[in-house]
């Protein structure tokens, strides 16, 4: 019940992965223009993580299409399909391989509407994040690159319901959307997901847990580390407000600023490398906009400035977790 639902919630319980799979099937049923592209995604195999298996079984290989290992070309082809009115949803096998198609994303897709007004409505699904002992090339969090690139939207859900609702919105969005999925949540996280047509708007943060002493701003798998930390701290009498950004571009700064103006303390947390990460932007905005409200400096936690290491003790040292978050919050509250 990591996302606060109750046991008698009538909505079906789905894993984070199933929620994504459901959203693909729902959108493909609703809109013929939606096709899926990626390596090994067609049925019966259904992709490295099986996210597209249900869609492939239902819609066949004409709409769930295997591609060669050619990220530049097939993301480029998605650009062409999208310009012709289709809505391709591309899976890069791991988020780490998104760099192989970088030009087609940040140079072509991102700039097209600004330059000559045409729409490039695709989604790239990027199975990201670590904690799974997968090493430097199967654990990356590439979101900051795309937030920095004008013309993209970037979404990073942390619950099954958000994954479902935000994927519906991302597919319907007329812009190229980078959809960052958190691999460690795929099968470990269950939650209620409303069946049917329930999009969640891009650009609205979620107050995952209210609190008055300090705001933790985060997204993805770290949302759950933050709420765990908040549980710990509640026992110590410290009430943490946890804000899940959900969308990294556009950023819902209104919700963040309102919260920090109230709590006067802020910690920004993400699993991505801290240095020049999305958290730097969020922290800089908070420090600016909440200047006269802050009782302590805005702090950040993120991955260290090294490639994501493989070995468990190294990866644990690399990666933020609930203990590190709790420690940082305690320090902030004692400031």
């Amino acid at each position: 019940m990591t996302d606060g639902s109750s046991l008698d919630d009538p909505r079906p319980q789905r894993t984070y992965l199933e929620a994504i799979s459901d959203a693909l099937v729902f959108e493909m049923s609703r809109d013929e223009a939606v096709v899926l592209l990626g390596e090994d995604i067609a049925a019966p195999f259904g992709g490295a993580f099986k996210v597209t298996k249900a869609a492939g079984e239902k819609f066949g290989s004409d709409r769930v299409r295997n591609t060669p290992m050619s990220e530049s070309a097939f993301i480029g082809a998605a650009n062409g399909m999208a310009l012709m009115g289709m809505r391709p949803v591309v899976e890069v096998q791991f988020a780490d391989f998104i760099t192989t198609g970088f030009d087609s994303i940040v140079q072509f897709a991102a700039t097209t509407h600004y330059r000559w007004g045409a729409k490039v409505p695709w989604v790239i699904r990027a199975p990201a994040d670590g904690g799974l002992r997968s090493g430097p090339f199967h654990s990356q969090n590439p979101e900051a690159w795309f937030v920095h690139s004008p013309g993209l939207k970037v979404v990073a859900p942390s619950t099954p319901a958000d994954a479902y609702g935000l994927l519906l919105s991302s597919i319907r969005d007329d812009n190229p959307v980078i959809f960052i999925e958190s691999k460690p949540l795929y099968r470990s996280l269950n939650g209620p997901v409303p069946a049917g047509d329930h999009p969640i708007p891009i650009g609205v943060a979620d107050v995952a847990r209210p609190g008055r002493d300090c705001t933790v701003i985060t997204y993805g798998a770290m949302r759950h580390q933050a709420t765990t930390a908040a549980d710990l701290l509640a026992d110590e009498g410290i009430e943490i407000e946890v804000i899940d950004l959900r969308s990294l571009k556009p950023l819902d700064l209104t919700t963040v600023i309102e919260s920090v103006a109230r709590t006067s303390r802020a910690l920004v947390v993400h699993a991505a490398n801290r240095l020049a990460g999305v958290g730097a932007e969020v922290a800089a905005v908070i420090a600016d906009e909440c200047f006269s409200h802050l009782d302590a400096p805005v702090k950040r936690l993120g991955g260290l400035d090294v490639p994501v290491p493989f070995s468990p003790p190294l990866e644990d040292a690399y990666r933020p977790d609930s203990d590190k978050i709790a420690r940082a919050c305690r320090d902030l509250c004692a400031w």
């Binding site: 070309a73 399909m81 310009l83 140079q107 509407h113 330059r115 000559w116 939207k153």
Partner: protein
């Protein structure tokens, strides 16, 4: 020559002369200090860009590159809009957002606005063709690349995708012997681009890119076969870039004899000669030339009198 042919050639002559004249006008503006930023030279490429675009139907799609001024014109993007685009005006195709003929896209005319990263138009055209095929639409996508673009990995990846899908796409390679200052033999271990294309599984032919009839005939066949479900074709059109890579480039690295040789094969001179030999009245051709000049003069005037974009709009439209 049958009348049909003559009419088509006359039409080609009109577009090629417009391309040539517009290009010369742009060049003049730049050389007299009235340009904004840089701009590309088109001379020598007129038969290819015009001829290939003429083989398409209105519903088809074209994804040009920086030597394809002719293709933009044939598709219906007016000289006024192009000239205003070159000069960064609000009335230009991209409203002053993109430079020279980059970003000169308009889906109403089935034209993709290209980016600098070469050859990014290629996978885009392949994807468009995949969409046509997926929806069983009888449409074709056509794109262009240079010899430099044809040595990139994206070229081979895009051809493979196209071949796998039997996508209705035609890829015209403008083999103009140079990629910027680099001769083809310096950048390509195998200069036989058609052979490289065939090895990926795509049909390929070589043609004389300065011969408009060769372009019209062969690209029409390629477009037809794409439309008939026969899959992609690469058309390697051999030509010579007759000026520098772009306006700033004097191309001192090109041997003078090479240019002299190719000057004799000028595509605009050649089509005119063909028409004259076929007995077409010279005064009618002259009449095309002078009306073309008037069109271009009008475009220049229009562009120079056009307003700059409003800086307060700079942040609008980054998203749809």
């Amino acid at each position: 020559m049958p009348t049909d042919n003559i009419d088509r050639l006359l039409s080609a002559y009109r577009w090629m002369q417009l391309t040539r004249t517009l290009d010369e006008a742009i060049r003049t503006l730049w050389l007299t200090g009235k340009g904004v930023g840089g701009t590309f030279n088109q001379r020598g490429h007129e038969a290819i860009s015009v001829g290939a675009a003429m083989c398409l139907q209105p519903d088809d799609l074209v994804a040009p590159m920086h030597r394809d001024l002719g293709a933009f014109l044939v598709r219906g993007i007016t000289p006024r809009r192009i000239m205003a685009q070159q000069l960064g005006r609000a009335t230009g195709v991209s409203g002053g957002r993109d430079a020279n003929i980059h970003g000169c896209g308009d889906l109403d005319f089935g034209v993709i606005g290209f980016i600098s990263h070469l050859p990014q138009s290629l996978p885009v055209a392949v994807g468009a063709a995949m969409a046509f095929r997926h929806r069983h639409e009888p449409r074709v996508a056509l794109t262009f690349t240079g010899d430099g673009g044809a040595i990139t990995g994206l070229f081979s990846e895009s051809l493979n995708l196209a071949a796998l899908d039997r996508a209705p796409v035609v890829i015209v390679v403008e083999e103009n012997q140079y990629a910027y200052s680099t001769p083809i033999a310096t950048h390509s271990a195998n200069v036989d681009i058609a052979a490289r294309a065939r090895a990926t599984g795509v049909e390929a032919i070589d043609i004389d890119g300065n011969d408009i009839e060769a372009v019209l005939t062969n690209v029409t066949a390629a477009v037809g076969s794409a439309r008939d479900g026969e899959g992609p074709t690469v058309v390697v059109a051999h030509t010579m870039r007759m000026l520098g890579h772009a306006i700033h480039d004097g191309a001192e690295y090109v041997p003078a004899e090479l240019l002299t040789d190719w000057e004799r094969r000028d595509p605009v001179d050649a089509i005119r000669a063909t028409l004259e030999v076929a007995g077409h009245p010279v005064d009618q051709l002259d009449e095309i030339d002078s009306s073309t000049l008037a069109t271009v003069d009008d475009a220049v005037e229009f562009a120079l009198a056009s307003p700059w974009p409003d800086p307060s709009t700079v942040e609008s439209g980054v998203w749809a």
